[in-house]
């Protein structure tokens, strides 16, 4: 049985916070798509956990600093760490900013022992972190084990620096993995099924017969089962690809702007993905290579436990370009890039994804993702947006649009209220208006004698509305109306207090409108189109 090469994993804990310059003792959290993506130790101690909504997190820990996730900075600040590690070994694989790994066998010969290797790694990484983000970083976590998955878990379990490093003895990976909960496999759907089957630890899952696991969960289940058993997760038929799978693009004129490189990278990633798919292959490890006008060659290896899809590939390339082009001067290329290449370093037969079974992307999702990426390329970042549920009293607040950044199957995006969410007080009941005006047009609401309709302090109309005139349009007869419903928000906060009155009005042609009176002015907030 192949238990995978002995691997050392370096993790920088809470990298999305550290990269933004948060010191280890400060309470802070990083939001991605409205949910907590990472929280510092101090915030976690106060009860902030990943996946929480912002409001809930602030309720638990009022003094917490709320930061938006910034993947570009994460990539940029991590690149010097990887460059520094190249002193230890030339073959560092980056999983994502904050986590990287390398095979132990080569550098071990040079340094003479795992203890010496760990000490050297810790020293190099900490020095690089000091330079990249300042001395207040929480250090690094080191784990060594047979196989990358076990090494990664060892690094998660490790304490800071060399003293806290966790070294799983050779051949000890299965025993180390056995008591771990199935949740660490990173497949919530599978973990859910397993827990309901009574298989709560990796040991219990690994004890199942591989045939049964493949029969029920397919090729993806097989890979996870191998991981749980302490075997190398990548199936045995991993092949070194023939060289002609590499794709490259010449950039003329030379490019030094990140957005232009990112655009070329996206097309290149799609090309590689399509080439591989045409041969029935998928990529698990890719080398990003760039050449500058001055003949400098930069290369970096990226790897993912799963299979790198087109958008995941494009992300890796973008992160890498951030690291090189916006990094500290010591590692920044001295001239514009003239050539960009992607070399698939490890490919596996594409097993084809079972549509929807894992909640993963279907063929339609992949196609849509590529079309939307192309539109982003045409119109710029932020031009394609996806709905996300936030909750609120007004139709405009309940769902907001967030820019498409990663793939379309982004984790953490919520498009419907959770089933157990309590109702919002003061929300307008369905049906909701089919048009919510981003820029509400002013309106005039008149009573039967042509006087403007007002609302007094107790929320009572001065007279029944009879005529509605929107902007400079025609006056229309009010056929029916309902309301007014006053809304008094944040009455405790003198600066952000908002008092409004809402009124539903049906005008002659069967169109209903939602009017809002704020600061003595009526506006059409929404139309029941």
């Amino acid at each position: 049985m192949n238990s995978g090469p002995r691997t050392l994993v370096v993790r920088c804990p809470d990298w999305s916070l550290t990269a933004l310059g948060v010191a280890s003792g400060e309470p802070a959290l990083v939001l991605a798509a409205g949910r907590v993506a990472a929280a510092s130790g101090a915030a976690r101690a106060a009860g902030v956990v990943r996946g929480q909504r912002r409001r809930e997190a602030q309720g638990r820990c009022p003094e917490v600093a709320v930061l938006e996730r910034d993947e570009a900075t994460e990539a940029r600040r991590f690149e010097p760490v990887v460059v520094a590690l190249e002193d230890v070994t030339p073959w560092v694989e980056v999983s994502r900013p904050g986590v990287c790994a390398f095979g132990v066998r080569g550098p071990l010969r040079l340094l003479g022992g795992e203890a010496a290797l760990l000490a050297r790694t810790a020293e190099v990484v900490e020095a690089a972190l000091d330079a990249a983000v300042g001395p207040a970083h929480p250090g690094c976590r080191l784990g060594v084990a047979d196989g990358r998955f076990a090494a990664d878990l060892a690094a998660r379990a490790a304490g800071a620096g060399i003293a806290g490093a966790v070294v799983v003895p050779a051949g000890g990976s299965p025993a180390f993995l056995a008591p771990q909960p199935v949740g660490v496999l990173g497949r919530p759907d599978l973990a859910d099924v397993l827990v309901r089957l009574g298989l709560t630890t990796l040991g219990a899952f690994a004890a199942l017969s591989a045939t049964d696991v493949v029969g029920r969960f397919g090729a993806e289940g097989q890979a996870v089962h191998r991981l749980a058993a302490g075997l190398d997760g990548t199936p045995p038929q991993v092949r070194r690809p023939p060289l002609d799978l590499a794709v490259a693009v010449d950039l003329d004129p030379p490019v030094d702007r990140i957005d232009r490189v990112a655009f070329a990278a996206r097309a290149l990633a799609e090309q590689l993905h399509d080439d591989l798919r045409g041969r029935g292959l998928a990529c698990t490890r890719v080398v990003v290579e760039a050449e500058t006008e001055h003949g400098e060659r930069l290369a970096r290896c990226w790897r993912d436990e799963g299979v790198l899809g087109a958008s995941a590939l494009a992300d890796r390339v973008r992160w890498q370009m951030e690291g090189w082009l916006h990094g500290p001067p010591a590692i920044r290329p001295t001239a514009g890039l003239v050539r960009l290449a992607l070399l698939p370093d490890e490919v596996v037969p594409a097993t084809g994804r079972q549509a929807g079974f894992w909640g993963g992307a279907t063929a339609a999702d992949e196609r849509a993702a590529r079309a939307l990426a192309r539109v982003v390329g045409l119109l710029g970042e932020g031009s394609v947006r996806l709905p996300e549920w936030r909750g609120g009293r007004d139709p405009a607040d309940q769902l907001v649009l967030v820019p498409l950044t990663g793939g379309v199957g982004e984790v953490g995006r919520v498009d419907a209220p959770p089933a157990d969410a309590p109702p919002w007080p003061g929300v307008l009941p369905p049906p909701s208006p089919a048009a919510v005006h981003a820029d509400p047009p002013p309106a005039e609401l008149l009573d039967g004698r042509g006087r403007p309709v007002r609302v007094d302090g107790r929320g009572v109309l001065s007279a029944a509305p009879a005529m509605l005139r929107v902007e400079e349009g025609e006056k229309a007869q009010v056929a029916a109306w309902a309301g007014p419903w006053p809304v008094d928000e944040r009455w405790w906060d003198p600066l952000r207090r908002r008092r409004r009155v809402r009124l539903q009005v049906v005008v002659g042609d069967g169109v209903a409108r939602l009017l809002v009176l704020e600061a003595e002015r009526w506006r059409v907030a929404a139309t029941y189109d």
Partner: protein
């Protein structure tokens, strides 16, 4: 335009050559029926997109892939959302181009799967020049594209768009009253609507009783009308 490989379409291009829809194009009712259909050429699901039950009388075959639909006048957005609801719920993607006002809460109530809805913002300085390229890219990858142009669409753009939709099997839905150089294959509009619920300050908007009129070209030439609650008190389009 770099298109993803391996996605050649095998859709019938000329609707009039097909003649009236055979009865077997409705949804399968049994496994045996589904299997029989699968053996005889392409299944119905590949040539049409499903529509919600409220539109079953108007569009008994569903939404034909490759076709163009126009919705205009009052209620245009509700009609557009009703058209795409069932298809997005069964895995198709939809994009809205140039209509930042589309009510997302209403879309969710109508039954649109918001996980598969993208809103494209055309307010940027160069966006209007790239309208054709953007819509064309979307038609290449998404099953449903809702477009709300601000001004007259050029004849060449419209022709290219229709051809591409036919080739890729996508449905283009034109929202609003902007003039197009050609007629869509199918036009939906409200022929009279009344809101029920509010009465001089009491109550609230509960439902809209509306007559939906479908006209069009080719097989849609015969005018059809159906009375709908668009939407009903839950926000869902339904039969009264």
């Amino acid at each position: 335009m770099g298109l993803p490989a391996g996605h050649a379409s095998t859709l019938p291009d000329n609707p009039s050559a097909e003649g009236p829809a055979p009865a077997r194009r409705s949804h399968p009712h049994s496994l045996a029926e589904a299997a029989r259909r699968a053996r005889t050429g392409a299944p119905a699901g590949e040539r049409t997109l499903p529509v919600s039950p409220a539109l079953a009388d108007l569009l008994p075959d569903g939404l034909r892939r490759g076709s163009t639909v126009g919705v205009a006048g009052p209620g245009a957005r509700s009609l557009a959302l009703t058209l795409i609801a069932e298809a997005t719920a069964t895995g198709s993607w939809a994009a809205v181009v140039g209509d930042p006002d589309l009510g997302l809460a209403a879309a969710a109530e109508v039954g649109v799967a918001l996980a598969r809805l993208a809103v494209v913002d055309l307010s940027g300085p160069t966006a209007s020049r790239q309208w054709g390229a953007v819509v064309s890219a979307l038609v290449g990858g998404l099953d449903l594209v809702l477009v709300a142009p601000r001004r007259q669409v050029r004849a060449a753009d419209a022709r290219r768009l229709a051809a591409r939709a036919r080739e890729r099997g996508s449905v283009v839905i034109r929202i609003g009253d902007a003039p197009w150089p050609d007629r869509p294959d199918l036009e939906l509009a409200l022929g009279g609507a009344t809101w029920e619920g509010p009465e001089d300050g009491y109550g609230r908007l509960r439902c809209r009783r509306a007559e939906v009129v479908a006209t069009g070209r080719g097989r849609n030439a015969r005018e059809r009308r159906v009375l709908l609650l668009l939407p009903d008190a839950r926000g869902v389009p339904s039969l009264p």
